[in-house]
């Protein structure tokens, strides 16, 4: 009995040793020479293999990063600046910091704002729906509501709100990998700068139709009235194809456009205080009144000066 146990242990141990030796020799013989920094870089990666960087996965990213000289155009949106600083450290080069980004939904066509005008009965996919027709609301530009973005998100940061029929971004989970942007056939999803403490302003609409038909399709549509463009003192808003767009690099988060937008198409998020629309409106109107007065005064002065000029000449 004891002998059996001893023999068993001995044989198994010997077998283990022999196999370990074989494994070691084979591994040595067929070893692939690789830049050890690739492994190091890969270790610092988030490891989600989401493809948000444009490479096939974290390993492919690491290979590209090591073989590139400058890290130009190579950025891990998930790991962000911290990860890139580490990667740059390993490679001994300087990292270029990027502003953190987040996905935003640029459509506010909730079930209430944007009534359905027909009934879609095909496969519930935004891509299928978009290739078939303009959609089940009168707006041909907005969210189709089948949740292709939700399916594309590997971080669980997106969900459909059954109340509104629109996707909702969980900012804590969103890594700005851009998968939803690629998935959306209507380009409703946009990666925007996260902003200081998450505060940001954006136009939540893409409707390029002329004002009346946009308004008819959706109560919260941008009607291209241009009030926001006139209001903005930072030149951050442009109006193109009947729809406004806020350049986040120029926006100073004064929220004036948001207060003045007649349809509520401009959204401000994560601000500590709720927007007092009337106060801001009054402020803007006061400023515009003053500006008008100043302009009028200047014009008057100019006119007087112009009127005096010939007199002067005559005098001379």
């Amino acid at each position: 009995m004891t002998q059996t146990i001893i023999w068993t242990i001995a044989i198994v141990t010997a077998l283990g040793l022999v196999l370990a030796l074989v494994l070691y020799l084979v591994a040595e013989k067929f070893k692939v020479e690789e830049d050890p920094r690739i492994d190091e870089v890969e270790k610092t990666m988030p490891g989600a293999n989401c493809g948000g960087c444009g490479f096939a996965g974290c390993r492919a990213f690491a290979e590209a990063a090591v073989s590139s000289e400058t890290l130009d155009g190579i950025f891990c949106p998930v790991g962000g600046n911290d990860t890139m600083a580490k990667v740059a450290g390993i490679l001994g080069i300087e990292a270029v910091a990027k502003a953190p980004m987040v996905a935003v939904v640029r459509c506010n066509g909730t079930c209430q704002n944007r009534p359905k005008v027909n009934d879609y009965d095909g496969y519930p996919s935004c891509r299928v729906k978009a290739s078939l027709y303009s959609g089940d609301t009168a707006c041909a530009w907005g969210c189709l509501g089948c949740g292709d973005c939700v399916a594309a998100c590997t971080f669980g940061a997106l969900s459909m709100d059954p109340e509104t029929g629109l996707p909702v971004v969980d900012e804590a989970k969103c890594t700005a990998c851009g998968a939803c942007v690629k998935a959306c056939p209507k380009s409703v999803m946009e990666l925007r700068a996260k902003g200081p403490r998450g505060m940001r302003e954006y136009v939540s609409c893409l409707n390029r139709d002329k004002g009346p038909s946009a308004k008819k399709a959706c109560a919260a549509a941008c009607i291209g009235c241009g009030i926001c463009v006139k209001t903005c003192t930072h030149g951050a808003i442009v109006l193109e194809n009947n729809v406004a767009y806020i350049d986040s690099s120029k926006c100073k988060l004064c929220r004036e456009c948001e207060a003045l937008c007649p349809t509520g198409a401009i959204h401000g998020v994560n601000f500590p205080k709720p927007l007092d629309k009337d106060a801001v409106k009054a402020r803007v109107q006061e400023r515009q009144r003053k500006a008008r007065e100043a302009a009028a005064a200047a014009a008057k002065a100019a006119a007087e000066a112009a009127a005096q000029e010939p007199q002067k000449k005559e005098e001379e």
């Binding site: 005008v117 027909n118 009934d119 009965d121 095909g122 496969y123 996919s125 891509r127 299928v128 290739s131 078939l132 027709y133 303009s134 959609g135 089940d136 041909a140």
Partner: protein
């Protein structure tokens, strides 16, 4: 045994309830809307401006490229606007809006009913007349006919096939055309066969239209006594089976030859034209009449009045329905075309196009899709696929966007006939996904071709 194509196919219920209704002209609508994208290829370029007076048959848009076609005013009146307008799917398309005033035709157009049988000998002039007449394939694809009649150098045509299958359920406009304008169709066919080099011509008709088969046979016999140009045209009765009217399927059925993947019918020596196209060719060549009207079947069990109407191109759909008593309460879907391949209409204010062959109304019970359940691997989709594909596999690959595997499994050969979805007992929306994947693969193939 009657001939038919060799792979797959389904037998949907015939439902040709409007087959007894003679073609009647629809009154002129107050306004017509002429889209510049009524054909495959480049959209036409408008050559009229708001305020211009136009007559019936006057060119309002010129071809925007080699594969493109003329568009003629279908009414006389004043151009109101040239602006984007929503089509039947709600997408904006450049559209010429014309307010109708009277019904004055361009000079030189023969609007009489006299049947002309003298076919000119100059083939080049004939093709030019077809081009100027804005003739496009009216069987569904709306491919410009003059392009099809000018095959690439080196290819040789062996047979002209006139597609008179009308294999889709409900549709009867081609059937009525065969019965009422049989002479014109046969003369059109004779023109086509002369242009392609005096090749034989076969008119393929499904066996469920015996009246049409008899009538066309009699017409051919009568005409072939007038001129030898009408000899060499024959009628072939085909077994009833969908999608027999598919170009590749019809060639297979008639000639027993299979057009290869991505190849044109001319590669096996065939040129296929639809009945309505043959009629349009007759009109354009012998009557100088461009496409300004076409026959449209308006039908559906829920619809109080079945009809085959002669409709001016650009007539708003709502005007047609209102003329026949309006959209019934229980109709939930309006389809432009047949139930297998037609497009669901989301915008009834859209207007007809040259290729609009039918307006079909279906009820909730007839058309609402049932909830999808698990695939039971019965293989009915693969049995039904006329291209010999495996829809269950393509569907699965499409859902994970595996373009390489999709191409290897020939998703690009799909003709979108709908047999797979029609026959799936688990109601899986196979074609919805496959159609999308086919588009993606075709784009990838084209991108590769241009790179090289």
């Amino acid at each position: 045994m009657k001939r038919t194509f060799s792979i797959g196919g389904v037998h949907p219920h015939d439902s040709k309830i409007s087959r007894g209704c003679a073609i009647e002209p629809l009154p002129l609508p107050p306004t017509v809307y002429l889209s510049v994208a009524q054909h495959i290829g480049a959209p036409a370029k408008p050559v009229v401006a708001p305020g211009d007076k136009v007559k019936v048959g006057q060119v309002v848009a010129e071809p925007g490229g080699f594969v493109s076609a003329f568009i003629h005013s279908s009414v006389s009146g004043t151009v109101k606007s040239v602006a984007p307008r929503k089509d039947l799917a709600g997408n904006e398309v450049m559209t010429i809006e014309i307010a109708v005033e009277g019904d004055e035709w361009m000079e030189g157009i023969d609007t009489s009913d006299t049947i002309l049988t003298e076919i000119p000998d100059d083939n080049k002039a004939i093709i030019e007349k077809i081009r100027l007449g804005g003739v496009v394939g009216l069987g569904g694809a709306t491919f410009p006919t003059h392009v099809k009649l000018s095959p690439p150098p080196g290819s040789k045509c062996g047979m002209v096939i006139i597609n008179a299958c009308e294999c889709e359920p409900y549709l009867t406009s081609d059937f009525r055309t065969l019965l009422e304008k049989g002479e014109q169709v046969v003369i059109g066919a004779a023109i086509l066969r002369q242009v392609m080099g005096n090749v034989p011509c076969t008119i393929g008709i499904e066996e469920n239209k015996p009246e049409a088969i008899e009538h066309i046979k009699a017409v051919i016999e009568k005409l072939s006594k007038i001129s030898p140009k009408y000899q060499g045209i024959s009628v072939l009765s085909l077994k009833k089976r969908y999608p027999q009217g598919g170009e590749k399927q019809l060639i297979d059925a008639v000639m027993h030859r299979q057009v290869g993947s991505g190849a044109l019918p001319i590669s096996v020596g065939a040129v296929v034209q639809n009945v309505a196209t043959a009629l349009a060719v007759y009109d354009a060549v012998l009557k100088n009449k461009p496409i300004v009207d076409n026959s449209v079947t308006v039908t559906g069990e829920c619809f109080p009045r079945q009809a085959n109407l002669l409709v001016r191109v650009g007539t708003p759909l709502r005007f047609i329905l209102d003329y026949l008593g309006g959209l019934p309460e229980n109709a939930v879907k309006v389809i432009s075309g047949g139930p297998m391949m037609g497009r669901a209409v989301s915008n009834l204010d859209a207007a007809t196009l040259k290729g609009t062959g039918a307006l079909l109304m279906l009820t909730e019970a007839q058309t609402r899709r049932k909830p999808a359940s698990n695939c039971i691997r019965c293989g009915k989709c693969a049995d039904a696929c006329p291209m010999g594909l495996e829809p269950f596999l393509l569907n699965r690959l499409a859902k994970v966007d595996d373009l390489e595997a999709l191409e290897a499994n020939a998703v690009q050969d799909c003709i979108e006939c709908g047999c797979c979805l029609y026959s799936c007992p688990a109601n899986i929306p196979l074609l919805d996904n496959i159609r999308l994947a086919k588009g993606a693969v075709l784009r990838a193939i084209r991108a590769r071709a241009t790179k090289k």
